[in-house]
């Protein structure tokens, strides 16, 4: 192998790894705060990517309608839960955030889709749509189950994944799509060519890692989220609204997912069901990171990306086998170093 190929593979691996790192971070975040293993993370990726691609192509994405439908569902859930004490303010607030907001976004989407919006507008709309879907999904599917076991949450997560994947096919069809580059242009440094797109990927990943670090370290909401992650009941007793923590976690996860999708859709063709596998590789990184450590997850994600790049070059048939089997030695190490602490499960 010559150096050029190696450098090229490493570069490719780092670009993919950066995406896996973002997804891994989102998974860690959601799991820590809500105990949900977020299998639909992959759908956030495809929804973001394909919404962006559809808008850029001047088509109306179905996701905007889904956001409104889910918002109405969330509103209904809010009303049902508060049925014994329906205060005007509560109803109005729920109506505004769950129905009026997605309705406005839908109107904007319809307006802009007709006239091939500029890239920035497409990105903004896609992010808002997927973010709303994420938050409403938490309200409808997971918040009522917040007290149950990790297993039940996991199965619910699978159910949501199935439904979203089916809807994805309905919205975007079976054909793959590509979107326009977020940042065009390129420059070469030695043998390597850096496209604006790949630089965007690096930049946003680093920005997110730093941003999350600051968010959790410095802001009150970030600390509230961490408190919820450590002890739900304790956090509630200290006055933290744990449902709000869950919504913030899902908001961040869906934004991160959609953003990842928007960043890769100019590089690779995405299909309605591509997200599952991409999300799973984020999982691999998150597991290697132990589902707790952000920096470790980011490093692991880069390793996953690079291993994937090299195995697709040398043994493309076994690419997925190698990536997923990468976990086995890691798990082995973890089990050898298994802590003897007692875990209380309920």
């Amino acid at each position: 192998m010559n150096t050029t190929i190696m450098l090229f593979l490493v570069q490719d691996g780092i670009t993919n790894g950066a995406i896996y790192a973002l997804l891994g971070l989102a998974l860690v975040l959601v799991f820590a705060v809500t105990r949900v293993i977020l299998i639909p993370q992959g759908e956030f990726v495809t929804y973001g990517a394909l919404t962006y691609a559809s808008l850029a192509a001047g088509q109306m994405p179905g996701t905007a309608k889904l956001a409104l439908a889910l918002g109405i569902g969330a509103f209904a859930f809010d009303l049902f839960v508060a049925r014994k004490a329906l205060h005007g303010r509560l109803v109005v607030r729920s109506l505004l955030t769950n129905v009026v907001l997605p309705a406005i976004v839908l109107a904007l989407t319809v307006y802009f889709a007709a006239q091939k919006p500029p890239v920035a507008v497409s990105i903004a709309l896609s992010l808002v749509i997927v973010a709303m879907i994420g938050v409403y999904l938490y309200r409808i599917a997971f918040q009522p189950l917040a007290h149950t076991s990790v297993l039940v949450l996991l199965i619910a997560s699978v159910g949501v994944h199935l439904a979203l994947q089916g809807l994805g096919l309905l919205f975007f069809g079976a054909e793959g799509q590509r979107g326009p580059a977020v940042l065009s242009g390129a420059f070469t440094a030695g043998a390597l060519r850096f496209t604006g797109q790949s630089l965007t990927v690096y930049g946003i990943t680093i920005a997110f890692i730093v941003g999350l670090w600051l968010f959790f370290g410095l802001t009150l909401y970030g600390k509230a989220l961490r408190a919820t992650a450590v002890n739900r009941l304790g956090a509630r007793l200290a006055g933290i609204r744990t449902t709000l923590s869950g919504q913030i976690a899902f908001l961040l996860a869906s934004v991160i997912g959609a953003l990842s999708g928007i960043m890769i859709v100019p590089i690779t063709t995405l299909y309605y069901d591509s997200g599952f596998l991409i999300g799973l590789k984020g999982f691999v990184a998150a597991i290697i990171g132990g589902l707790v450590s952000y920096p470790l997850t980011a490093v692991a994600a880069l390793v996953v990306g690079i291993v994937e790049a090299f195995s697709s070059f040398y043994a493309s048939n076994y690419k997925e086998v190698i990536v997923f089997m990468l976990l086995i030695p890691v798990l082995l190490l973890r089990s050898l170093a298994a802590p003897a602490v007692e875990e209380e499960k309920d």
């Binding site: 189950l145 159910g159 086995i328």
Partner: protein, 589 residues
């Protein structure tokens, strides 16, 4: 033990179904599929619902079973009946390999780990040349008995459902046994089970193998039903589907697996065949509806449908009281044993920079009640954990009957005749008091999993339950024997823990705050019980905060403060010891 009648009725109904006139052949196909899924789900019930180990990888074991028979019957011309044991062995031994890697993982690593190797194996199935890559293997011979070939779905129907019912019986037998209790205790953490000699990694591996063998059996049947295999049904989606079959049915109930399989298979079929009529159009509408229904079902019945259904039935008759005339072998107590039972010498435990136990030395003599007291954080429970092997000491030594037991695991300590209770009660709430207490006698039984499945363990089992019942009566909870442990008050649960510890037939009983949560009368009864035990030849080491209780009961008291021993002596001397008063009340004014 549950009555066999419902199972016999169920078997009879299943046997009669194909003879119902006008039964559409398609329904038989559905029933075949339900049976195949039920086998896998049953394994998951044991693994996930009972043992608390979530696996997404079961579809891979189905694949091992199916591919083993496919390769051996087509390429090597073996008879399908010969490949049955081979399929099971292949699934089982790969389960050992994968299990050794994965089952020791805690909590959420495990499901994700299984998901990862499940996916990896799926891709392997679809890439390997001798497994036919993506096309798979076709022209697998049918099952046959003599000249009768099971070609139609109706003829293999019996093979499938015999397998389901036999597996269900064996699985239920396993759960209702010494090994089964160890498995059922897994979900609540391993410290309590290990304190009574259960080898938890081995128990986890056992359920893992059991589930894999059931999956392999399903795969073997599948290969001979379809007479062709390809990788698709063994992928991650299928693995996930098996798991939610178990959860929807009620993970924790063997028949929940069968019910879940019926619901999911029928639901999918109905959605697939009728939805396009209602909602024409492209796309996987049935997947969408299926996903939504799944979430809705979980929100309505998070515990699954089986427990929800049986809650409508009249409450099952109380279990009958075990025959307490049966006796287990007692520990041989050599008459010339040294009078020092337990010797703790300069035991030290550091957690990072924190010294929890600082060079503490004391001993416990035969027929003696020693109390370990001290303010909160004095290191009392840590000392208990050092003695019972839950934690290993940083330095110092601990000897039992003059023999050093430094850093032996809990399973070895309990064999020496030291049993304990816990500060935070560690019972299995959904097991009865009797079953919980019987875990204490784990090491005094000998039946393994195979004999339990085949019901060859009954003599052994009766003795274990008799011992458990005797100890329950001894601590005065005979009326609660068949109640679920979780339904008792906290004080009673502590007493149940004492009965469980007594089942070990211990020489030394370690009690961590036994009187907490007890009422005055109950405390007096407890004190009387402990005195009786001492007079019967047992020693007791207890941690307790109720000073009145301790001062009236203990022969000797050891006082710890910030990990260091500050005093030792009879209750009378301790009461007046200035160091002790200072530790409890602060500097004397």
């Amino acid at each position: 033990m549950q009555s066999r009648l419902p199972i016999i009725i169920f078997a009879a109904v299943m046997a009669a179904i194909p003879f119902v006139p006008g039964m559409p052949p398609f329904w038989i196909v559905l029933l075949d599929n339900i049976g195949l899924a039920a086998l896998v789900a049953m394994g998951l019930v044991l693994l996930t619902g009972v043992g608390g180990l979530t696996s997404f990888g079961q579809a891979a074991f189905v694949g091992f079973g199916a591919y083993t028979t496919a390769v051996l019957t087509t390429s090597y011309g073996l008879s399908p009946w010969l490949t049955l044991p081979l399929s099971l062995v292949v699934s089982g031994s790969l389960a050992v390999l994968l299990g050794l890697v994965t089952v020791r993982l805690s909590g959420h690593y495990l499901p994700l780990g299984t998901l990862a190797w499940g996916l990896g194996l799926f891709y392997l199935f679809s890439k390997l040349e001798f497994l036919g890559r993506n096309d798979g293997i076709s022209a697998i011979p049918p099952l046959s008995i003599g000249t009768f070939k099971m070609l139609s779905p109706g003829s293999i129907y019996y093979a499938i459902w015999v397998a389901v019912i036999v597996s269900a019986l064996l699985t239920m037998n396993l759960l209702d046994s010494r090994t089964g209790r160890a498995i059922r205790a897994l979900r609540r953490g391993h410290v309590a089970a290990e304190a009574f000699g259960v080898h938890t990694p081995r128990a986890k591996l056992l359920v893992f193998i059991h589930a894999a063998v059931l999956a392999g059996l399903s795969g073997w049947l599948y290969a001979h039903l379809q007479r062709a295999v390809n990788p698709t049904p063994f992928g991650a989606q299928a693995g996930i589907e098996y798991l939610f079959i178990a959860v929807v049915g009620g993970a924790g109930y063997v028949w929940g697996g069968v019910l879940g399989a019926a619901i999911v298979v029928v639901l999918k079929e109905v959605l697939q065949s009728y939805l396009p009529l209602i909602l024409p159009g492209s796309g996987q509408v049935e997947t969408i509806v299926f996903g939504i229904m799944l979430v809705a079902l979980l929100q309505l019945a998070p515990g699954g449908l089986w427990p929800w259904l049986i809650s409508f039935l009249p409450e099952a008759t109380r279990g009958k009281k075990p025959d307490t005339s049966l006796k287990l072998e007692q520990r041989t107590r050599s008459p010339g044993q040294s009078s020092i039972l337990l010797q703790v010498e300069k035991a030290r435990k550091q957690f990072g920079g924190v010294v929890a136990v600082n060079n503490v030395s004391f001993d416990v003599q035969a027929r003696e009640i020693v109390a370990l007291i001290g303010p909160n954080g004095a290191g009392k429970s840590t000392t208990f954990n050092l003695i019972t092997g839950v934690l290993s000491a940083t330095s110092g030594s601990i000897s039992v009957l003059g023999k050093k037991v430094d850093n032996a695991p809990p399973q070895e300590i309990v064999k020496l005749g030291i049993s304990r209770t816990f500060q935070h009660v560690k019972l299995v709430p959904d097991m009865t008091v009797l079953e919980n207490v019987a875990i204490g006698a784990h090491l005094r039984g000998h039946s393994g999993p195979i004999s339990s499945m085949l019901r060859l363990d009954r003599a052994d089992e009766a003795k274990l339950l008799a011992e458990a019942a005797r100890q329950i009566e001894r601590v005065g909870l005979a009326d609660q024997m068949h109640q679920l442990a979780g339904s008792l008050s906290l004080g009673q649960q502590r007493i149940v823990e004492i009965a469980r510890a007594l089942c070990v037939d211990p020489m030394l009983l370690l009690l961590d705050e036994p009187a907490a949560g007890l009422r005055h009368m109950e405390k007096q009864q407890l004190a009387k019980l402990l005195r009786d035990l001492r007079d019967g030849g047992m020693s007791v080491l207890l941690v307790e905060h109720d000073m009145g209780f301790v001062m009236n009961l203990a022969d000797r008291i050891v006082v710890l403060d910030f990990g260091t021993k500050i005093a030792e002596g009879t209750p009378a001397t301790i009461k007046t010891n200035p160091e002790v008063i200072k530790a409890y009340l602060g500097v004397a004014a």
